[in-house]
Symmetry: C3
Subunit: 273 residues, 3 copies
């Protein structure tokens, strides 16, 4: 099974699928192709929250603002999963989670326990489209010309990552940690990690801070704490523990980002009433 | 085969797919994840018009504004198909159609002929993501934590819906009927059920009213009746029998909603010239 | 394997998938359903650039502004691939590429070397949805009622296209050529073929004109020529050879269409510095 995640929109993912299907009969599953463009933080968050629900798979991830520069393409072995993508940090939080290490990376060495391999692009067989006599690969679409061929190769021979002729161990991949909230007895200083399609503000504040709390002060406003969106009337604001275990600032039948006037990256300060 | 329909946008459906793939090898087919948010009417309409083209399947449907409240999760057996989703009426028009009962529900008992089961959520095995030690399930994402596990279980053992340890018959599911048009000799009083991505206004008026008619008065304006969009010149309005058998108010190479100034839910009165 | 491409948005493609799955067990792959509406040029371009990466397949394509008129439905045999769609030219550039003829059609007879068959719609078995007693087929949704049944039939019995009871050879399909750039020693006169989701302006100018060039004059402005988006600073304009081998006018971490003030169809004149 190969999952596909990118910020490509359409129709570029379809070219990647063609390359994969030319090389493997594996099942392909689209995770998302509308990650915020070039946004490592949002992409790393969604990958960490979604991919662990999958059975062991090869995960092809292309959020790659540095395409065509000298950044590496990497393959990461994380537990029974393998991730393929650019060496810009986007793979590491989910890789750590898949390897059973939490994925927060805030307690010491981060990538140390992961097996990371650098892809030697010259060693990969470049895809040649039907009707074309040659193809050299592009400098702008490594999803099609580098990552998809690497993912197909890895999917077919996953037992021997160490033996792949076109890869070599990489000791220091680019690290990336999702920002952590600071929790004290008086207040919690966090931020909005992502805004989902419903407009819910997903913060980096652990949901445990809402235990036994019926009301909280969020950026100065008193907000009811609920079990579900429908705890409050339509159009009203609510703080709750979202489906990822983090505090969310939401609106029942409305958009939290509009109601709170916040977007991804903005500070969120929670205080007890 | 499991089909997936929701108003989730992205990437939440990918988490549901992971849960399904962890539990079953069945084919997964996305129907749509952009149903109008929380809109029972539009979702019920599209499900009724699309799912009957499928071979026997398990249909996972999550349009669920009441998630986290005490609304039930249900499983509905309809002919050779099984539907899984919230007990808010969204499943019933398509279930009736799949059971060979028309799907309009305007002639007597609606859900009576369907087998409806209530899901005992505590009896379901909660999904545990790789790298996580525990998962209790969420109050905001039953698509992942309740409906997907139920759909996977039903898909695997469809012969024995009555025997499932985690379900029990539900006598009175929440009913929902798509609104019916009133047809008399002088006029037809209907409404716009949905606006499709082309801007076509799909009404609840049966297409038979356009038989042998070359022109019709729609909300006071004379509109040509055509066989196809291209019956009229680009930019011009046309009334025709759409692909669901209902009267549509459309524009050739343009948007009917803009040209008619109408949206979903608005009244449509048709009169003969 | 059947690929699906259309300008349908959602959820109409799901009805086509139901019809296909009712008739075949083949793998279905979505290429794109958001081609610019009714846009033959953009659709023909994307199909030509994406489908050749696929292994031999049946390609169902529905970009069909003339649905319901007397335009034909056609099946095209191109190398090991088969294409099914409307006879409006959209299939021909990719068919020519798949047949190993380049896909530009600027050097003589275009469709001559392709096997094109006209679909006799009355000979196709019309899809009948579960719960419905009859279906006559629509005049507005041939994707579901004509092209999908034809694609499923072709997919099942691809060896015998000539023997299909519901098809007959078509000698003169509607031709369509993507516009060619005029290259002289002083200047290149081309145009923007499509704007991709990133805002990149993909022109019809062959990338070879940028060989050994570090700067170019595009519509009067001097623009650096780069190897990758990141050749220039974020927000700056760059000309490069895109992943299709054509000249693109792009912005690193920004939108080329906004920065250049150009959209699909606009003229692009390149001059050497």
């Amino acid at each position: 099974m190969i999952t596909l995640s990118s910020d490509f929109g359409s129709p570029y993912p379809a070219a990647m699928k063609g390359v994969l299907l030319e090389r493997t009969d594996s099942r392909l599953v689209d995770v998302a192709h509308d990650f915020p463009r070039g946004d490592i933080r949002a992409s790393a968050f969604w990958l960490r929250e979604v991919l662990p629900y999958y059975p062991p798979a090869t995960h092809l991830v292309v959020v790659d603002p540095g395409v065509g520069t000298d950044r590496h393409a990497i393959v990461v072995r994380a537990g029974d999963h393998v991730l393929v993508g650019p060496d810009n940090g986007v793979l590491l939080p989910v890789a750590q989670r898949l390897a059973g290490q939490g994925g927060d990376g805030h307690d010491g060495a981060f990538a140390d326990a992961l097996d990371v391999f650098r892809v030697d692009e010259d060693g990969l067989e470049t895809p040649v489209p039907t009707g074309s006599e040659s193809a050299d690969g592009s400098t702008t679409f490594h999803g099609r010309d580098v990552f998809a061929p690497a993912a197909a190769a890895v999917e077919s021979r996953r037992v021997s990552l160490d033996q792949l002729s076109w890869s070599s161990p990489l000791e220091s991949p680019v690290e990336y940690r999702l920002p952590a909230a600071e929790v004290s007895d008086e207040r919690v200083a966090g931020e909005v990690l992502v805004v989902d399609d419903f407009g819910n503000l997903i913060t980096n504040v652990p949901g445990t801070v809402l235990e036994d709390v019926t009301e909280i002060v969020a950026n100065g406003d008193r907000i009811p704490v609920g079990d579900a969106f429908a705890t409050v009337h339509p159009g009203e604001r609510v703080a709750l523990v979202g489906s990822h275990g983090n505090v969310e600032l939401d609106v029942n039948d409305g958009r939290g980002d509009d109601a709170f006037g916040l977007e991804a990256g903005d500070d969120v300060v929670l205080e007890w009433v």
